[in-house]
């Protein structure tokens, strides 16, 4: 018990004997984590948009002109066998004409009462896991092979561009995240190293009296965990404070849940622990 009390006393001694180093460590880490948090929000909000837009993606399957109406149901059956695909509706030639009329008006269709060049079509929707270029291409190929299908259409180039943008954002996010983590690690480790260095004479004496590495290193480990977790929490605290001051109604911003923030703080604490280990390793010859 006395050892635990000693470790806690040492921890607070580290903090209050070096207030400048402690404050600079907290501010630097908070700022870096804030940057990371903002990017987290940006990425998740973009992802939400992406999911919302992509969920409205449909595919149209056009039926060949020479196929009798009775055969269409066989085409529909073949399509419904494909995993993750749902048939939303069937448009007969008359439905297509009516749809076009609703869009362009009746005047442009004068003279086409007897002849209707518009094709019959089947409108498809997809399960969320099917909504990628790769899987939709597969579905397109499968449907194209069905006898009686003349053409399959979906917003292929739009989807490709959206996927490329999303991939770019997540690559940049990974790079930025890695850079931020590295900066936190280096900066925090350096702060720990400086704090430990100011106490080098004392450590030497403690070692001479028989102190082991653990009792010397533990206060620094706890300090690292505390500073990391506090900085991580402060970053989110600042964001939620700003959020409470401004209301954005035009679109929904995605914020993490309380549980996610707790996990995040635990991870930033872990990062602090690693930093403190790196910072004092050489000094204590761990």
């Amino acid at each position: 018990m006395t050892r635990i009390i000693h470790i806690i006393k040492e921890l607070f001694r580290n903090l209050y004997k070096n207030p400048g180093t402690t404050l600079s460590a907290i501010l630097t880490m908070t700022l870096l984590f804030l940057l990371f948090d903002l990017f987290w929000i940006g990425t998740n909000t973009t992802d939400r948009f992406y999911q919302e837009y992509i969920s409205e993606l449909n595919m149209e399957v056009f039926v060949a002109e020479n196929i009798p109406d009775s055969t269409v149901k066989y085409i529909q059956e073949a399509i419904s066998q494909i995993d993750g695909v749902t048939i939303e509706s069937y448009f007969s030639k008359e439905d297509a004409r009516e749809e076009l009329m609703n869009i362009v008006g009746i005047d442009l269709l004068v003279g086409y009462e007897a002849t209707n060049p518009l094709p019959r079509s089947i409108l498809l929707s997809f399960e969320p896991e099917m909504l990628s270029t790769l899987k939709l291409n597969e579905v397109e190929n499968q449907i194209s092979k069905i006898e009686g299908v003349s053409y399959v259409y979906y917003s292929k180039s739009w989807l490709t561009k959206v996927e490329q943008t999303k991939s770019l954002i997540s690559d940049f996010g990974l790079f930025l995240g890695g850079l931020i983590l590295l900066t936190v690690l280096v900066s925090s480790a350096n702060n720990m190293r400086l704090t430990a260095k100011t106490r080098a004479v004392g450590f030497k004496q403690m070692r001479l009296l028989g102190a082991g590495k653990i009792i010397l290193a533990f206060p620094f480990f706890i300090e690292g965990i505390l500073l990391g977790a506090i900085s991580g929490g402060l970053g989110w605290g600042l964001i939620f404070y700003v959020k409470s001051k401004f209301e954005i109604t035009k679109f929904t911003i995605v914020y993490p849940t309380f549980d996610e923030i707790l996990i995040y703080c635990a991870l930033t604490g872990l990062l602090g622990l690693i930093s403190s280990y790196v910072g004092i390793k050489r000094l204590l010859r761990l």
Binding site: M1, T2, R3, I5, H6, R13, K17, R199, V201, G202, Q205, M206, R207, L208, L209, G210, A211, G212, I215
Partner: protein
């Protein structure tokens, strides 16, 4: 080696960092309850001898045993256990600058995992014995040289360490303090502890159960 032998140096040979011979076939033994004064000129290797005993340096050949345990490089756990049983005063043993006097004195008890009550009782005893009650919450940089030495004596004895190593205990002290420290060393020697005193001055040889040696040209005579 008998169980009661505290220090055993056998055929110790050591070179300095520059490659000169420092110890040539050094042999020495100190039984429990006995004390020894090693004196020698500056540079004769007295402090190095202390470093060998607490595992800060290691012999080139021969053996150093403290409390029956061989002090060898890489035997960190053994070295730590030896250091816990050794009280140190002067030389390489100084005070932890960030600890108060009370914390410095009680640190060996904390390492030994003693209870809060034992720590408090022993601290009070030591503070009273060394007249350090007023300085208990001071930091070492506020203490005089003599006060620092008294704190080191208190720390060296607080956990009933069976061996106390004292490096240059009386150098530069005024008569009054000299007598006080000398008297205290006498008390320690009488109490059944083993003192290992290194000094550049030839001390009075009336410390009880104490033998004197001179370290000259790498051997003890």
């Amino acid at each position: 080696m008998s169980d009661k032998t505290v220090i055993e140096l056998s055929n110790v040979y050591l070179k300095t960092d520059r490659g000169n011979d420092l110890f040539l076939d050094l042999n020495f033994s100190l039984k429990s309850g006995e004390s020894a004064i090693i004196y020698g000129a500056a540079g004769s290797g007295k402090s190095v001898l202390v470093e060998l005993l607490i595992g800060r340096r290691f012999v080139d050949s021969g053996a150093v045993e403290v409390f029956g345990k061989n002090v060898k490089k890489r035997k960190k756990r053994i070295i730590r256990s030896i250091r816990k049983k050794v009280g140190g005063v002067g030389g390489i043993f100084s005070l932890v600058p960030t600890f108060t006097v009370a914390e410095n004195i009680t640190y060996p008890l904390v390492l030994a995992g003693e209870s809060k009550k034992v720590i408090k009782d022993r601290l009070m005893k030591m503070l009273t014995e060394f007249s350090l009650l007023k300085q208990a919450s001071e930091y070492p940089d506020k203490l005089t040289r003599v006060e620092k030495m008294l704190v080191q004596f208190a720390r060296a004895n607080v956990a009933h360490q069976p061996l106390i190593i004292i490096d240059e205990p009386l150098a530069g002290l005024d008569h009054k303090t000299y007598d006080r420290i000398y008297e205290y060393m006498g008390k320690l020697a009488l109490s059944g502890l083993s003192l290992f005193i290194v000094s550049s001055l030839e001390l009075k040889s009336d410390l009880p159960k104490t033998r004197s040696f001179q370290l000259v040209n790498g051997v003890l005579v």
